[in-house]
Structures are given as structure tokens and as C-alpha cells.
């Protein structure tokens, strides 16, 4: 028994031509189905729980578009990215890649760093132009993630960060594998002095067996030492976990408990269910994927209900099926006291959500230096509202997830509402997923077009 619940456009995974797609429900799971006249039919599971999937539409934000666009709409989404005038959400986070060099060689890498057949390591004036694109198209507060490759391979990264701040970018986070900031605290101090607000740190688990599979080498001690260094220097960290059902899904509860033990240096855990673009071992089946609802259920199970499915709400900034977030206060016994719940219903104000999200990211994830002395660490919870509020100021943990779209799962309905945009060399903004998307033979829609010049 199959029920059609929507129509959208998608891409053929082989030739990447735009084709019609349908969303259907079978056995309470939501699938995207599409047929390329030349290469066949695909049916991929994108959600579990049809009622929940439909209900989330009530959380959709009122679209807030950019004030100006780089591209007219000619061929339609996803072929005119820049953004085009049909794009329905402005930027809350801009990704600026400053190199494709890396000091690791991971088996899984969305950026296919090191071996993508081109060299991208721009000079500082080129990077200035990329920041200028952000300033041109995005209103304050501007949040930029400096990414790569591995941005910390650049000795001039502190100079780059300082330049971004001087140009009016209020919040800078560095996407890093943590190798250099673990081994080189002087470099970390320079980054702090230059104005880095937080690190977005790859973190796949608290067991080296996992790192051996995801990154090719044991890295847990390096991650631990990097967190210790960040605590010493006074920069907040978000742990970013690529979740694969085949590798570390069983481990998400341990990761959340570990993060809670490292508050307030660790501000959040951000799960990224594995997407298949860039570098990955083989064409995926549904069993190789994890949907957001399935991840939330796994988190509830592995945290013994400390964090429940119901505590995860969409940010309402991107498309409501792209992400989920929770916010909890970490109590002295390291248990979580969740503040977010679906039971409160859709948000009352869904207009201008991107501005709100940017402000939240900027204010909330910024490390509060004067709480780094650990003076709350030995505080016992007397069950009072006062203790609760005092801890809430500093001892909070976000647990969130974002389901990136690959060539099998991607759809126009979600791309058009994306608010995370990669900055290109020719002065454009491209939704992160589209920028990194690759066909079965590794062809990209936008990445190489942008960086192989």
C-alpha cells in the first residue's frame, strides 16, 4: 500500500539531470522515488513516521529571502545556484573554504580533500573576496564557518580570521579535525587572539575502533587533548559526529554523555547522519542510512530516556526536514535537563527565523570566558530553581542533527529553503549540500566548477 504525499524535483544519480520525483509513504516510512529516462528508477527512504513528517510542515518559517540575488532563475533549482531569485531563505551560516589540503586522509570525506584532482589553497586576497561576498549578501549578524580541507594547515589562519572580523563578520567558527590545535597550543592561542569564537570539531566517538574506520587512524587522544587545550585557552567546542549505522550509531549515547562531562568547554554535539557525496566506499542502500527520526529514537534509547525523541524540534530555519535540535541544561550529576519539546507545538513567531538563528548561534555558542574557572563544577544540585538558573547560564548542551542531502536523497523542496551556504570564488552563495553533491562517478554540480579555475 503506497500513498503519494508530495511532488518535487530531484537529480538522476548517474547523469545529474533534473527529474521529477514523488514522495510516497509505505509502511509508515517516507520515500523519495524518481525515474531517469536513461538510467532507471530509484526509491530511497528519507523519513520514518509519516504523521510526524507531515506535522513538521507546521513548523515551517515564513520565508525570508535575500535582499539581492546573484543569479536569475533560468533553468530552475538546482541549476541556477548563486543564489537565484527563487531561493526562499537567506543565510544563517556561510561556509568559506580556505584550502583543500588536509593533514588526514579519511576514507569518508565530503570535500574529497587531498585527492580531488585540483589544488585549492587561495591567497589571502582571494579569501578577502570570499568574505566580501558574505558582507555583500548577508545582513548582520554574520556567521562564517572557515572550512576546507583542513583550515588549520594554514599558518596564516589567524591573519585570515582577523581580516574577517575587521570586515564585519561577527562570529567565526573553525571546522577542524583538531590535529593541529591538539599538538600546537601556541597556534591555538594565536587563533584565540585573532578572534575565533568556537571550533566545529570532527568527533566520531570515544573509541579508537571508530576512528580507525572513519578516519583511518586512532584519533581519540588527539580530540581529548584538543578539548583540554580549548578549555585552557578559552574557546568553546561543538563536537561534530558523522553517524553511520555501519560504524558508530550504537555509540551516540556515549558521545552525548562524554560531551556533558566536558561542559562548559563543549557547547554542543552536532550529529550528521552519513551522506554519500565526495569520498565514500560504495553506493548506499537504505540500511546504510539513518534518518533523523531514527537517530532521535536511538538517542532516547542510548541515553535511557534522558533525552527523548520529543525533545528534538526543527530549527525552522532550514527546511523542517533538514534538521532537529535540542537544548538541555547539564545538571551537576551530568544528567541533562531538556528545555526543548515538541509538546509545546509550532513556534509562535516563524518569521525572520534566519536572523534569530544567526543571533542564537552567535550568542549562545560563544564561549563565556568567565565560566572557565570551573567554579560551578563542585556545585551540588539542591533541586531549586535558583541552582537551575545559575547553571543554565553556562552549563548547557545542544544536541542537534542535520541530514545533508546527497544525489539520492536531495530534492528541490529542501534545497530552496537551505540557509547554510558555501561561498564560491566568483562571488556566489550555493547551498552546502548542492555544493558538495556528487554523482555516482564523482562528478560535482558546483564544487569543481568553482574551485578548478
Amino acid at each position: 500500500m503506497s500513498e503519494k504525499i508530495g511532488e518535487t524535483n530531484a537529480l538522476c544519480p548517474e547523469c545529474m539531470r533534473t527529474i521529477k520525483a514523488e514522495k510516497i509513504v509505505e509502511n509508515d516510512d517516507v520515500y523519495i522515488t524518481k525515474t531517469c529516462p536513461e538510467h532507471g528508477t530509484w526509491k530511497v527512504k528519507i523519513w520514518s513516521g509519516a504523521k510526524h513528517y507531515k506535522y513538521l510542515y507546521e513548523f515551517s518559517a515564513t520565508p525570508k529571502v535575500l535582499e539581492k540575488f546573484a543569479m536569475p532563475t533560468i533553468n530552475g533549482c538546482p541549476n541556477d545556484c548563486g543564489l537565484c531569485e527563487r531561493h526562499m531563505q537567506h543565510s544563517c551560516l556561510n561556509v568559506v573554504e580556505v584550502t583543500n589540503h588536509c593533514n588526514l586522509n579519511c576514507p569518508i570525506c565530503f570535500a574529497t580533500a587531498n585527492e580531488c584532482g585540483y589544488n585549492f589553497h587561495p591567497d589571502i586576497e582571494t579569501i578577502r573576496d570570499m568574505f566580501q561576498t558574505v558582507v555583500n549578501y548577508v545582513n548582520s549578524p554574520r556567521v562564517v564557518q572557515i572550512s576546507g580541507g583542513e583550515p588549520t594547515v594554514r599558518d596564516d589562519l589567524p591573519e585570515i580570521v582577523k581580516m574577517a572580523k575587521e570586515m564585519g563578520i561577527e562570529h567565526i567558527e573553525i571546522n577542524t579535525n583538531a590535529v593541529r590545535i591538539s599538538n600546537d597550543i601556541d597556534y591555538l592561542k594565536k587563533l584565540k587572539e585573532s578572534g575565533v569564537d568556537d571550533f566545529y570539531m570532527q568527533f566520531d566517538g570515544v573509541d579508537d575502533k571508530i576512528y580507525s574506520k572513519t578516519r583511518g587512524i586512532p584519533l581519540f587522544k588527539i580530540k581529548e587533548n584538543a578539548i583540554k587545550n580549548c578549555s585552557e585557552v578559552g574557546i568553546g567546542v561543538t563536537l561534530v559526529v558523522t553517524v553511520s549505522p555501519d560504524i558508530n550509531l550504537y555509540h551516540v549515547g556515549d558521545i552525548i554523555r562524554y560531551a556533558a562531562s566536558k561542559v562548559p568547554t563543549v557547547k554542543g554535539v552536532h550529529f550528521q547522519p552519513i551522506s554519500y557525496f565526495g569520498r565514500y566506499p560504495a553506493e548506499p542502500q537504505d540500511k546504510n542510512r539513518i534518518t533523523l527520526p531514527d537517530l532521535a529514537r536511538e538517542i532516547e534509547k542510548q541515553t535511557n530516556g534522558m533525552l527523548k525523541v520529543d525533545n528534538f524540534i526543527p530549527t525552522s530555519c532550514s527546511n523542517v526536514h533538514c534538521d532537529m535540535k535540542s537544548l538541555s541544561i547539564v545538571l551537576p550529576d551530568r544528567s541533562l535537563f531538556p528545555l526543548t519539546t515538541m509538546a509545546l507545538g509550532p513556534p509562535s513567531k516563524t518569521d525572520n527565523v534566519a536572523d534569530k538563528t544567526r543571533t542564537e548561534v552567535s550568542q549562545f555558542w560563544r564561549f563565556i570566558e568567565n565560566t572557565m574557572d570551573g567554579k560551578h563544577e563542585n556545585e551540588t544540585d539542591d533541586g531549586s530553581w535558583k541552582t537551575f538558573v545559575n547553571r543554565a547560564k553556562t552549563h548547557y548542551l545542544t544536541v542537534s542533527a542535520m541530514a545533508f542531502q546527497d544525489v539520492w536523497t536531495g530534492e528541490t523542496e529542501r534545497w530552496e529553503r537551505c540557509c547554510i551556504h558555501t561561498v564560491t570564488l566568483d562571488g556566489k552563495l550555493v547551498p552546502f549540500c548542492l555544493f558538495n553533491l556528487t554523482s555516482t562517478d564523482g562528478t560535482t554540480l558546483y564544487r569543481k566548477r568553482t574551485f578548478c579555475r
Binding site: L327, F337, L339, T340, T341, A343, L344, P347, S348, K349, D382, G383, S384, W385, K386, F388, V389, A392
Partner: protein, 145 residues
Amino acid sequence: MATISAAAKEIIEKRGLKEKDVIGVVDGCGDDKIYNKESKLFIAKKEIGELTVYAVFNEAGEVQTAYSHKMKILDIVLEGETDSGWVYCKNNQPLKNGHTNLTYMGATRSGPSLTEPVSGESWFEEYLSVGALTAAEGLFQQKRA
């Protein structure tokens, strides 16, 4: 009929309360109020919509200050041993410095309170209401918005 001092009018406006609600708390409380013979002040409270509104007034019925909280008062969790200096006018029982549970948006935690175990009644003082309770309420509301 109760009156409101000039200072209290300012506070009431600043805290988003309505003067008529505060007057109503005083005029309608009868003996359901507490009295402190040292300060010669009364406190009365009333649930109005989702708020519990408190009025602090003198023997002439002039309101000196007013405040509120959205949290719902539950049971006393600690009756307390020390005398608070307040007496419940309804039964002349002394109030202790205890702890009482408050619940808001599904969360229940305690706060220091003036407790009267015989009737099971609790009152929350201004410092807590405008401090920790308001902050906690704001935290939850922020996440709801």
C-alpha cells in the same frame, strides 16, 4: 478600597501588572493574607489567569509593591524550622522558612518559601519571584518562541 503608592505604581507598570488586579488582590483577600508585625506589612496573593499576583501592603491598605510568577505553586517539600516572622491571618499560625515545589512547562523544582504547614499554604517573596523564578520562566519561554 486599597490604594497604591506612587513607587508601587511605577513597579507595577514596569513588571507588566495591572493596577486593578493588584487592588483586587488586596480587596478580595479577607483573612487570606500573612502579616509581619515587625515591618507591619501584609502579603496577599491570588491566581489571575496564568499568573500568581502578590500585593505587599501596609495596615492602611496602601500597596507598597507587587510582583508575580507564572509557575504554579505545588506542595511544601520542606516545612522549615526557623520562624520567618510572618503569621497567617486566617489561622494565626506562624510561617516558617521552608521550601515549596513550583512547576512550569512540565518542569518541577523547589524554591525557598514562607510555609504554613497546617493549611499547606506557601508564599514566595519578592526577591525570588523577580529573580530566579522570572529568569527560569524566561528561559523556557525563549525556547518556545
